[in-house]
Every structure is written in C-alpha cells, then in structure tokens.
Assembly symmetry: C2
Homo-oligomer: 407 residues x 2
Amino acid sequence: MIGNVIVGQSGGPTAVINSSLVGVYKTAKDRGATKIYGMLHGVKGLLDGQYIDLSEHIKTNLDIDLLKRTPSSFLGSCRYKLPEICDNRKVYEKIFKLLEELEISAFFYIGGNDSMDTIKKLSDFAILINSDIKFIGVPKTIDNDLVATDHTPGYGSAAKYIASSMKEIIRDGLVYDYPTITIVEIMGRNAGWLTAAAALAKGEDCEGVDMLYLPEIPFDVDKFMNKVKNIVNSKRSIVIAISEGIKVADGRYVFELTNHLEFVDAFGHKQLQGSAQFLADKISSEIGIKTRALELSTLQRCASHLASRVDITEAYQVGGAAVKAAFEGETGKVVVLKRISDDPYICITDVQDVHKIANFEKKVPLEWITDDDYVTNDLINYINPLIQAELTPIMVDGLPQHLRLVL
Amino acid sequence: MIGNVIVGQSGGPTAVINSSLVGVYKTAKDRGATKIYGMLHGVKGLLDGQYIDLSEHIKTNLDIDLLKRTPSSFLGSCRYKLPEICDNRKVYEKIFKLLEELEISAFFYIGGNDSMDTIKKLSDFAILINSDIKFIGVPKTIDNDLVATDHTPGYGSAAKYIASSMKEIIRDGLVYDYPTITIVEIMGRNAGWLTAAAALAKGEDCEGVDMLYLPEIPFDVDKFMNKVKNIVNSKRSIVIAISEGIKVADGRYVFELTNHLEFVDAFGHKQLQGSAQFLADKISSEIGIKTRALELSTLQRCASHLASRVDITEAYQVGGAAVKAAFEGETGKVVVLKRISDDPYICITDVQDVHKIANFEKKVPLEWITDDDYVTNDLINYINPLIQAELTPIMVDGLPQHLRLVL
C-alpha cells in the first residue's frame, strides 16, 4: 500500500532544485501514489500546517517542463534545524501526528547537508516509535560539498553559469589598451568547488582566468600582491577568481582585513565589504591599476536560463530514485550520484545511509589545487561533464518563463 | 571608386557591438571594398599605427556567426577624445596622413555619444582640408542615451539580460518565509533606460519589482525608507531596482553619502558604485530587515549568451547602413533607428547629421516615470519589442563559443 507522500525543499535554492521536485512528483504519481503533498517552507512550514496538494499546482506537462526551468524553490524553503530528539520529543510527535493524519507513507526532503540532518533525525525517530513512514533525502546544493556522492545536483548549473560568465568577463576585460584587473567573487564559504569552475573558461577561444583562490588553501595577501605585480608586466588584462570564503593564515576572512583601510559606512560601523572589493581597493591604492570587483552573488544559484542539461536530468533522476527507494522499503537513506565512467561520462544513482552524509562537508582535495594558484586537469575533468548541454528556456515575450506557485 | 575602408570600436562595449562590426565588414565586402581595415583600440590605436586587415581575422561564415555572439569589442576600444581642431591640428593631420597612406575612402566608428564626437571632428576636419574621405558613425550603447535615434543597438540585449535576471532574482527572493529585501543596482549614469528595463520582469509568472528608481528623478532617502517600511508590512520579499546614478536633491550621488573610493575616467565621469550597498546597510540597520545589495555590473553589458535577436539584427543593420550611406556619398552622418510602427514593431535605419547627436544625451521622459516610483506602460511598450527573440549561442563543450582576435 503506497498511499500518500510528501515532499519538501530546504536550504539555499539552486537552478535545478525544482527538477528534483518534478522527479519526486512524477515518479510518485506514475508509481501509484494517491496524493502527493508539498510542504511549504520545508519542515518549518509543515510544523505550522502549511502544505499543498501538488496535483493542484502541477497540472499539465507544460507545467512540468516550466518547473524544470524555474529557479528558486517552488515550495519555498527554510533554514530550520530540528532539535535533538532527546531535547524535544514534542516537535517530532507533532510532525508524526501530522504525517499520520495525512496518511503519509513516504517523506522526501530535497536539500544540502543541513537538510539531510532532518532526514536523519526523522528516520531515527520513526525507529523509536516504530513508524512505517519512509524518509529519504534528495541531495541538492550549488556548493557540491556533500560527501558520499560524486557531486550534487545544482552544482553543474552553477558551474556552467560561472564558467560562461567568466568567459564573457574575460573578453570584456580586454577591451581597453591599458592594464585592468578584475576580481570576481564566487560563492562557497568553505569549499572551493564553485570557484574552481571558473577554470573551465579557458579554452581555444578564451585566455582563461589568471589566478584562482579556493578557501581550502590559506590566503597570503603579500604573495597575492607580488603575483599581481609580476603578471601585470606581461598581461594587459588580469582576471582573478576568488572564493568568498578565502581566509588568511590566522583564520580571518579576507574581507575582515578591511579595518586596515578604515572603511566606515554612513552609519558609523565598520563596513564588511566583500573580499574581492577589499583586494581590488588594495591593488588600486598600492599598485595604481584600475581594478574592479565583481560579485556573481545570487545569480550563480538562480540562473536557470543557463542551466546544465546534465544537471537538470540528474536532479530529476535523484528525485525519482528517492521515490523508487522509498516504495521499495528503504528509509533513512539519501540518494547519491555514482560516476561509473569518466569518458564517456556515465553516472547512476545509488542510496547511502543518511548517517554517513548529514552534517559532513566535502572540500576540494588539496592534490587538485596547484602551487601556482590554479587547479589541476583532474579537477577540470571532474567538473567538465557536469556542465554539458542545455535545456532551452521556454521564452515568452522575450523572457524565460517560469512556473509560479499561486496559493 | 570605393577603395579601402576602415572601422573602429570605441567606448564601453555591448553584447552586440561586434554584430555592427560584422554589418560593416560584410556590407563593405559585398559592395566591393578592396580592403577592410580594423583599427585596434579605436582612433587612439590608429594614431599609434595599430590596425589589422579584417579579412585575415574573419575568414569564414562560422567566424561571422561567432562574432555576432561575441561580447566585448573584437577590435578593442578606447575612451580617447580628440582635441578641438583649433587646439591641435597636428593630431588630425597625422590621422589623415595615415588614412591617405591606407587609401581609405570611408571611416566607420561604432560608439556612443562620446565616440560620435570623433566622427563630428574628423568630418569637420575633412571639410577644412577638402578631403574626400567619408566619416559615418554607427551607434551603440547599452545606455540608450543617444538622441535622434529611437533606441541604440546594445540596449535591447542589456534590457533583456536585466529583465531575465530580475525574474530569477525575484523568484529567489521569495524562497524563505521571513521578510527579505533585495536592492539591485543597474548601470546608467544619467539616463534610467536600463533600470526601467527591470519593469519588464512583471508578468503572468512574475510579481515584478516593487520600486524602480531612475536618475531622472531626485532621490529622497527619507521617502524611500518610509516606502520600504510600508511595503514590508504587506509583502514578504521586496525587490527594488535602482540606477547607479541616482542622486539626492543637492546633487550628490547616493553612494557619496557614504565614504567610498572614487574613480574618474578619461572623460571626467565618476565611476559609480555602491548606492545599493548604502541603501541596504541603511535598511538593515534602521529597519532591521535582512537586505542584500546586488550589482549587475559588467555582466549586463557582456551577456551575449542572452542577447536579443532584434538587437543583434539591428546592430548588424546599422553597420551595413553606414557602409551604404558612405558609398552613396554621405559624410558627417550617424545611422539612426527609426521606429515606424509600434504594433507590429517595425524599425528602419536612417541617417542624421552628426552635429545633432554628438555630445547630447537622451534621458527617460519624465512623463514615463510615475509618482509611485514606477514607470508607465508607454515606457514598457517602448522597451518590449527590443528584447524579443534570441540568437542561440553556439555551445562548445558546454559553454558559449566566441571569436577571439589573435594577433
């Protein structure tokens, strides 16, 4: 007896998180689920009784195809962490009461490592109370920092957007005949996967970025400045990609060094500008070369118009595989991606115990980062298959069309 | 006798400035030009004897199609302003000596209103010395601030990128269930055309931006803060688009209300940056709502991967029409776009005396800006046809392919 299922989205969105939602929805429907509920704003919304019947909002095949191309979390998200079971059983009892009222047989949660913690705790609690409800995690994060999976859905599209934008920025940087430096700040507090994607810009038609700084390696400001001084003698335009999370040896973020420049905003407090801005100001003032800072910001996680088709497909697959696993009796598991061949690229889904995934963080291996502030071909070859191909946006009146949740 | 021609690119690049280059190149070739030279970095490079034979770099039809999709100025650009003729005839004599040595019959310059000043002065000097060389300006600027033309090539693609990105940012902003404010800073020093394009985001599938601030209207910080306080009571996510050039009543830019490094370019224009950050800091500290600032920055002028097909086509047409005009004996002219029908949108090229265009600036008419910090439907209807349709990027190994000048 399959009955009803419920799905939620949690954590920061990606360009393809809704493709996983579609994967859960369509597979559950095809495999005979009676009702497919969507919790609004994850478990936090569920605790407030906020959920919808997805079939009332995804009505046609066109809706499905639009949803695959819609950025942000269709159902809304949350950054809510469940308390430890021993500290607060009431929260769990409330959730399970709700799930039982809705006759839920399987609970799917699309999220990163914080969200997998929710699956871990709920599946643990199900064991405690001898509940039959299955709990399966569906991985997503642009940060690619989940362990036990080759990569995470969401990463490939962010990487494609970053590499494409870098190519355009590199061309733009060469426009004038005087030296210019562009420092591009890329997301990723602790893991440099996204910043590494900037290396993909280099190719037959593009000079590539000149330096790449990942948070895995302590950032040395003096070494950086010396390198800039050296390169500037031989190159007209320098483009540098840095992770927002780069830190100096004593553990401070680079943007925390700004007090040396005594930046104070209009409200009297020290302005914590971005690391790229800090370095750009430093180069401008010490070397005297026009330097601009550029933050890719939110766009790198929501640029559905340039999503990777491989990523969209895999996001769909992990959603579908989660349903398959639950319906086959699995619980307390996370669907993972397993690369079984590099060339040709072949990737399948698998399931892993959630206890091996939740709350862990996968960083870029140090052997994939070179001494000359770049990354190895192994790292480039790892990322390259993930950005391949496109799913053409559905353009309406000149703009990409999305599916919007109207309550 | 048509002989040889020369073409240059000047000022800030656009996503489609190379489509105009292709328009000049292909039309000149088809109409029998012997050699088509490209000056490197505009007249500044030309003065240093830097030019190329374009046929050695644009060899195939694939090259042409790649060039149409290549951002930045293929030939490089400059921000060089010719001196007044009465102040320094030597510069002009040097340029004309070079042009005569190259047996140039026509000189094309792709640029904005500063660049049209170059066409004006060179064509004036040609009259003074009785030279037969024809000088024709080819308009481009993402700013859309040229007079005497319905709009400028480059604007439509920037507008399409801005509106598409706003749609993605608006979806992203709604992801959490607590109030968030996003302030997006858009280019446009004195004219609000680009910021106005953010209004196109609103549609059947998108809530649109909540407020739009154009530089044509003095910015009132208190009124702005009060409005935010009001809207925040009824809306979970607020998205605000501001022009980088918004100024308070006493003439200071909004970013000048904070301490900030200041850069001045060769034309004495201040480099603007940081108004969104200033307002975000103010909202965060005074209203206590999480507010993020986002600068679309360089990406809005180089996002060829999302260029408007209407824009690419018109950019090509103005390049071709410039050649036609020169070969028919015109000089001291600028090709302009003339909209002869709104619905259906039909636009043709025409030529205008350069003296009526150079150094003038076209702002958004005040009657197209509403009292409630938005824009009228007339303004939206004006922009809408310019963002229509796409020219699919040529994707190679997952990324948009460009044509790179290799010297």
